[in-house]
């Protein structure tokens, strides 16, 4: 096991009060595996990604409890110095907005150089990294600034910075969301290519289920700060257990699929300051029963390696309910 997240709880400060937005998340990433973390905006998935190396700004939020184990070593127990040796070296990040994530006043060359250990930061090494992410045209050029590149190229630079020091785990936080659809595919292809070449493990965070289905081996669905369902990709596609996962899959629009309107999940994500009693999804759930409003269910294993946080998971699976497509 490369990375284990155990009962992670993170809160954000709102008006001086700490509001829990990650309410106990367990997640595992094996070596060489791509794990998807999917959910609507504001479900806490980005926060999980940042919390792994304690990147949540102190003035904004706080890791309340939990453990993050990198090959068995608890990252939350490390001092700042030791943590810096993990950040960017063993665990790297690629963020959503490449333009704002690159420092506008430093050249691409300087910014990639920073990601390398001093001894290895040679011009040749930097050129090679740029070539590895398909930026041959700016490899060897030292005076290129972020604003001179297109969004797709900027994201390639972000990826170059992330892989520069050959990390074991890559955390991709919505790496394609800010890009054009055609560019999205190129970036995804690049990521998959690098994953195979460099034997990377990946945590792929996205709200885009299509992307997750293409990239991930295993998928975690997150809702209101907790994992709602977790399992291997093929199980999740063929027999989703949680009504929320089902809703997400059904709301993917399909070209050529003649429907008057695609099914969206009704309602909106609840506010963390005002979460409903019982199952947090019940106000939006088509299958809710009396019991759903009383107690929040735990993650139950339904089949091997496939768990869901729904009291009716097994029952609904047997009935095949809601498979309207």
């Amino acid at each position: 096991m490369l990375l284990e997240i155990r009962d992670l709880k993170v809160g954000y400060k709102v008006d001086g009060m700490l509001t829990e937005v990650v309410r106990g998340v367990d997640l595992e990433i094996r070596k060489g595996e791509c794990v998807g973390l999917v959910g609507e905006s504001g479900c806490g998935k980005t926060t999980v990604g940042l919390a792994i190396t304690r990147l949540i700004p102190e003035r904004k939020g706080k890791i309340i409890s939990g453990r993050v184990l990198l090959e068995g070593r608890d990252l939350f127990g490390l001092d700042d110095e030791a943590l810096r040796a993990v950040r960017g070296k063993r665990i790297s990040y690629v963020f959503q907005e490449p333009f704002s994530s690159l420092n506008p006043v430093f050249t691409i060359y300087e910014q990639i150089k920073e990601s390398l250990p001093e001894k290895k930061a040679t011009d040749r090494a930097i050129s090679e990294i740029l070539k590895a992410v398909g930026l041959d045209e700016i490899a060897g050029r030292k005076k290129v600034y972020p604003h001179e590149l297109s969004g797709g190229m900027q994201q390639r630079v972000m990826i170059a910075m992330a892989i520069a020091s050959r990390p074991e785990l890559l955390v991709l936080d919505e790496p394609t969301t800010a890009l054009d659809v055609t560019v999205q595919k190129q970036i995804l292809d690049l990521i998959m290519e690098l994953k195979n070449k460099m034997d990377l493990s990946i945590l792929f965070i996205s709200h885009d289920l299509n992307m997750i289905f293409r990239a991930a081996d295993r998928i975690n669905v997150m809702y209101a700060g907790r994992i709602a369902e977790q399992g291997p990709k093929k199980d999740m596609v063929s027999k989703p257990l949680h009504p929320y996962t089902r809703g997400l899959i059904e709301s993917i629009p399909c070209i050529g699929h003649r429907k008057k309107a695609f099914d969206a999940i009704e309602g909106r994500t609840p506010l963390f300051s005002d979460l409903p009693e019982g199952c947090k999804f019940h106000p939006r759930c088509r299958f809710r029963v009396e019991a759903c409003m009383k107690e929040e269910p735990g993650l139950e294993q339904v089949s091997s390696g496939h768990t869901a946080r729904c009291i009716r998971a097994k029952e609904l699976l047997l009935n095949g309910a809601g498979k309207g497509r």
Partner: protein
């Protein structure tokens, strides 16, 4: 770049012309005449004599003719002679500019040296005790009237403790000093004025710097820098500071006119023969050539300062191309 600067300079010409017309008109429209000092207070001066003096100064001609005369001389960079002591205007200004410029330059350097670190460290510890203390400190400096603080310091440091001279920029024995002693002497005279004006100006730069820095520290690229595993020092003093300093360049360019303008109150308190007092005295005496000289040179430096701000911004920010 060169072409841009050239085009901007060409563009400044009509602007400067407009400024001179308005200034010239306003000065001459103001009540009182340059001849008043010599005539109004002396009952023996006849009507004839008054006209003769006015004619001597060219004040009997129509205003537009006077302006044309002034402009012709200005094109040769000749600002005429003072009505008061008949010395060339350019010479009178030339004596004063180094003093005012020197004091203001020293003060702005001091403000930057103290204000930028205060702003940066406040932003890093945003909302903490240090931040709040510094906020109060710089605003106290901003709020205390310059003349009051000057007088208090002159009384304490100069009179009671006798540590520093309190007025002028040279001692009486100045001419007898060697070069090294001269430098020390001027420096000692300037400590109080520079300190007082820097204290008052601290609030501006430090608050500006603080808000820039707070803004920059929330940017995504700061998170990227942290995610790379950079030292917090590198994150703040390399990635954040460089971005937060960019707008300060503009502020500096825009402060050029203030550097030579001087302050009447300030220079009067410390008896500093600078531009502020020259301007005040010439306005009181309706010394038109000197007033025009000070204002026009001030306007030119303001315009050049703006240009300098734009050019230097392009020099430090790679996103801006001229």
């Amino acid at each position: 770049m060169i072409k841009y600067i050239f085009n901007r300079l060409i563009g400044l010409v009509p602007l400067l012309l407009g400024i001179t017309i308005i200034t010239f008109a306003v000065i001459h429209l103001a009540p009182g005449k340059p001849t008043d000092m010599e005539t109004q207070f002396n009952p023996k001066v006849s009507m004839e004599a008054r006209e003769r003096i006015a004619h001597l100064y060219g004040l009997d001609k129509p205003l537009h003719v006077q302006y044309a005369d002034w402009l012709k001389r200005f094109l040769r960079f000749d600002f005429g002679v003072s009505f008061v002591d008949s010395r060339p205007v350019i010479q009178k200004i030339g004596e004063r500019i180094p003093i005012t410029l020197g004091i203001n330059l020293a003060s702005i350097i001091l403000i930057l040296l103290i204000g930028v670190p205060i702003g940066v460290s406040s932003a890093v510890k945003e909302g903490g005790f240090y931040d709040r203390f510094m906020t109060v400190f710089v605003f106290v400096g901003f709020a205390i009237p310059t003349f009051w603080l000057s007088l208090i310091l002159m009384d304490l440091v100069g009179v009671r403790w006798g540590l520093l001279p309190i007025s002028g920029i040279k001692s009486l024995e100045f001419e007898r000093f060697g070069l090294f002693e001269k430098v020390i002497d001027v420096a000692r005279h300037l400590i109080l004025p520079v300190a007082v004006s820097a204290f008052g100006g601290l609030a501006g730069i430090s608050r500006y710097m603080r808000s820039n820095m707070v803004h920059v520290l929330k940017q995504d690229y700061i998170r990227t820098a942290r995610a790379k595993g950079l030292k917090e020092k590198a994150v703040i003093y390399k990635h954040a500071l460089r971005n937060a300093l960019l707008p300060v360049v503009t502020i500096l360019g825009l402060s050029v006119p203030g550097l030579i303008g001087g302050s009447v109150i300030f220079e009067s308190i410390f008896s500093i023969p600078g531009m502020g007092r020259l301007f005040y005295e010439s306005v009181m005496a309706r010394d038109y050539p000197v007033i025009m000289g000070v204002l026009v040179i001030g306007a030119m430096l303001t315009l050049l300062g703006n240009l300098l701000a734009d050019v230097s911004y392009a020099a430090v920010d790679p996103r801006i191309k001229l």
